[in-house]
C-alpha cells in the first residue's frame, strides 16, 4: 500500500506569498545571531571518535618491543596493495630472539591506501592500527610513502594486556604448556 500524504491546499495568506517570505526572513534573521556550527580548523580540531580509521600505523607494546612479526598477512590482504614488507630476523642476542621474525622494512604507500582497515583486522599481533591521524600531506610522492620509522613514530605505544610473547617464553622455559 502506498502511503498517501494529503496536502493541505494553501490558504489565502500563503497564496499571497509575502507573509511566507516574511516568515522565511525571520528564520534566517534568527540564524544570524546563533553560534556558528563550524570549526576553525587548524586552530580548533575536531574530537576524533573512538574506533576512527585514520592513517595506518605500527605500534610497540609497553615494553618497547615492535609487535609486528612480519607475517605479511596485511600485505596480502591489502586491497590496493599499499603495504610492502621485507621480513628480517631478530638477532640472537636480543631479549626477544624467540620471536624469530621482525620487519626489516615496512612501507605503507599513503597514495594507495584506502583506509579500509583490513590490515588492522587481519593482524594476529595487533601491531598495525588505524589511529586518529587524518590529515596527511606532502610535496612529493616519495614523501607520502611511510617507512618503518615514520610508522612507529605515528603509532607510538599502545597498552597491551596479553604480552603474548613473554608468556610463550615463560611457558617454554617452565614447561607448562597451555
Amino acid at each position: 500500500m502506498p502511503i498517501v500524504i494529503k496536502r493541505r491546499p494553501l490558504n489565502f495568506l500563503e497564496k499571497l506569498y509575502l507573509p511566507e517570505i516574511a516568515r522565511g526572513l525571520s528564520t534566517t534573521f534568527k540564524k544570524i545571531w546563533e553560534k556558528p556550527v563550524t570549526l576553525e580548523y587548524p586552530e580548533q580540531r575536531p574530537t576524533i571518535p573512538e574506533g576512527y580509521r585514520g592513517v595506518p600505523t605500527l605500534v610497540k607494546d609497553p615494553e618497547g618491543r615492535e609487535k609486528c612479526v612480519s607475517c605479511q598477512l596485511c600485505e596480502f590482504v591489502c586491497p590496493p596493495k599499499a603495504i610492502r614488507i621485507k621480513p628480517g630476523e631478530i638477532p640472537e642476542n636480543s631479549e626477544y630472539a624467540h620471536v624469530e621474525k621482525g620487519p626489516q622494512e615496512f612501507e605503507i604507500d599513503m597514495l594507495r591506501c584506502i583506509y579500509c582497515g583490513m590490515c588492522q583486522e587481519v593482524c594476529p599481533e595487533e601491531a598495525i592500527w588505524l589511529q586518529n591521524q587524518f590529515s596527511l600531506s606532502g610535496y612529493s610522492r616519495e614523501e607520502l610513502v611511510n617507512n618503518k620509522e615514520d610508522l612507529y613514530e605515528l603509532g607510538g605505544t599502545l597498552p597491551d594486556e596479553h604480552f603474548k610473547w613473554r608468556k610463550k617464553k615463560e611457558a617454554a622455559e617452565h614447561g607448562s604448556g597451555h
Binding site: I21, L25, I32, P36, V37, E40
Partner: protein, 368 residues
C-alpha cells in the same frame, strides 16, 4: 581661488565613483559575511595586512571581521589569467563588461546623498548633477545596463551564456514596466496642482518630511522593491546567472578582470537601487517620519549636512542588508513563474494601484 568648473566636476565625479567602488568592494565582504552568518559559518576572517593587522586587540578584531578581505578579493581579479575563448566574438566579448558597468556608475550622478542648509536657509542638494528629470534619467540609463548582459551572452557564442542573455532581456522588459508604473503615484503626488512640478530625486526626498511614501503607498513600495530585485538581477530573480541551471549564465565564459567588472557592476546596481528606494520610499535623509533634521535642531551648516549624509547612508546600508538577507533566504523562481509574476500580477497590480492613488490624491487635493 578659481578652479575650472569642468575640472572641479571631474574631481567630484572621480570622488563619487571611487566611493561607490569602495562601497561595492565592502558590499562583497558584507555579502560573504552575511551569507556565512545565516548559514552558521564564520566567513572570511584570516586576511590581515602587515602593520595594521599587528595592532593588539583592534588589529585582531578587524581581521576577524574580515575588514582587509576586499584587498585580496580585488587583486585576485587583476592577477588571474584572462582567458578569451577562441569561439567568441572578440569585440562584443570585450565590450560587454564595460557596457554592464558604465550605466551603473553613470546613474550615480543624479542620486542625491544629502543636503546642506546655508545660514540664509537655502537648501543645497549634495548631488553631482541636480537635473529636473532625475528619476527618468535614472530609469533610462539603468535600463541600458541590460545590454552588457545580453551582449555578453550573445558574444560568448555558447549555449548557457546565450540562454542567460535571452532571459535577462526578457526579464528586463517585463519588470521595467511595472517598476515605472509603480512610482507614478509618487510623481502625481509630488507634481499635484499647486506644487512645483518636478521629477527631481532631491525634491521627492524633501517632500517626505511628514509621512514617508512607503507608509501611505505600501503597494507601490512593494512592487517597486520586487522590480528592483528583478532589475538588479539579484536572487530570487537572478535568471541571467542562475548558477544551478546555466553554469553561471551570461558570464560563464568570462574570467579575471572582465568577470570582475560584471561583479562590480552587479553590486553598483545594488548600491544605486538601494539609494533610489531610500530616496523614493524611505524618506531620504529624514531621520523619522514627521521628524526632520531641522526639527531636531541640526538644520544648518556642516553638522546638519554630515548628519543628513550619515542618515542617508545608514538607510542605504540597511537596504543593502535587506538585498543580501533576501538572497540568502529565498530560492530562485522558475523562469515561467518570473514571467507570470511580472506580467500577470505586478503589472495589473501596479496599474490598479495607480488608478486608486490617482483618485485618492485627487480627493486629497480638491476636497481637503
Amino acid at each position: 581661488m578659481d578652479v575650472n568648473p569642468v575640472i572641479l566636476k571631474f574631481v567630484y565625479a572621480a570622488t563619487v565613483v571611487s566611493v561607490i567602488m569602495g562601497l561595492c568592494s565592502y558590499a562583497v565582504l558584507a555579502e560573504r559575511k552575511i551569507s556565512s552568518w545565516i548559514q552558521g559559518r564564520v566567513g572570511p576572517n584570516r586576511t590581515s595586512l602587515p602593520l595594521i593587522g599587528g595592532i593588539p586587540l583592534i588589529g585582531k578584531f578587524l581581521t576577524r571581521l574580515g575588514i582587509y578581505q576586499p584587498v585580496p578579493d580585488g587583486l585576485k581579479f587583476l592577477f588571474k589569467e584572462d582567458v578569451v575563448p577562441a569561439h567568441v566574438n572578440k569585440f562584443y566579448f570585450i565590450m560587454a563588461p564595460v557596457i554592464a558597468l558604465v550605466p551603473a556608475l553613470t546613474t550615480v550622478v543624479v542620486v542625491p546623498f544629502g543636503r546642506f542648509v546655508t545660514e540664509a536657509g537655502e537648501v543645497i542638494p549634495l548631488v553631482l548633477a541636480n537635473v529636473n528629470v532625475g528619476l527618468l534619467f535614472l530609469f533610462a540609463i539603468s535600463s541600458l545596463g541590460v545590454y552588457g548582459v545580453v551582449l555578453a551572452g550573445w558574444s560568448s557564442n555558447s549555449k548557457y551564456p546565450f540562454l542567460g542573455g535571452i532571459r535577462a532581456s526578457a526579464q528586463m522588459i517585463s519588470y521595467e514596466l511595472a517598476m515605472g508604473v509603480s512610482v507614478l503615484p509618487i510623481l502625481i503626488w509630488v507634481n499635484a496642482p499647486g506644487r512645483e512640478g518636478t521629477l527631481n530625486l532631491f525634491d521627492i526626498a524633501q517632500a517626505q518630511s511628514g509621512f514617508w511614501f512607503a507608509m501611505w503607498m505600501p503597494v507601490s513600495a512593494i512592487i517597486f522593491l520586487v522590480c528592483l530585485f528583478a532589475e538588479t538581477n539579484r536572487l530570487p530573480f537572478d535568471m541571467a546567472e542562475s548558477e544551478t541551471e546555466l553554469v553561471s549564465g551570461f558570464h560563464t565564459e568570462y574570467s579575471s578582470f572582465k568577470f570582475g567588472l560584471f561583479f562590480v557592476g552587479e553590486y553598483a546596481h545594488m548600491v544605486v537601487g538601494s539609494c533610489v528606494f531610500t530616496l523614493l520610499f524611505l524618506g531620504g535623509w529624514n531621520p523619522m517620519p514627521f521628524v526632520t533634521l531641522e526639527a531636531l535642531g541640526f538644520g544648518e551648516g556642516i553638522l546638519g549636512a554630515i548628519l543628513s549624509v550619515g542618515i542617508f547612508s545608514g538607510k542605504m546600508c540597511g537596504m543593502m542588508f535587506f538585498f543580501m538577507w533576501i538572497r540568502w533566504t529565498l530560492p530562485r523562481f522558475r523562469y515561467d513563474q518570473v514571467m507570470k509574476l511580472g506580467w500577470k500580477i505586478l503589472l495589473p497590480l501596479s496599474i490598479a494601484n495607480l488608478v486608486v492613488y490617482t483618485i485618492f490624491i485627487f480627493y486629497l487635493d480638491t476636497k481637503l
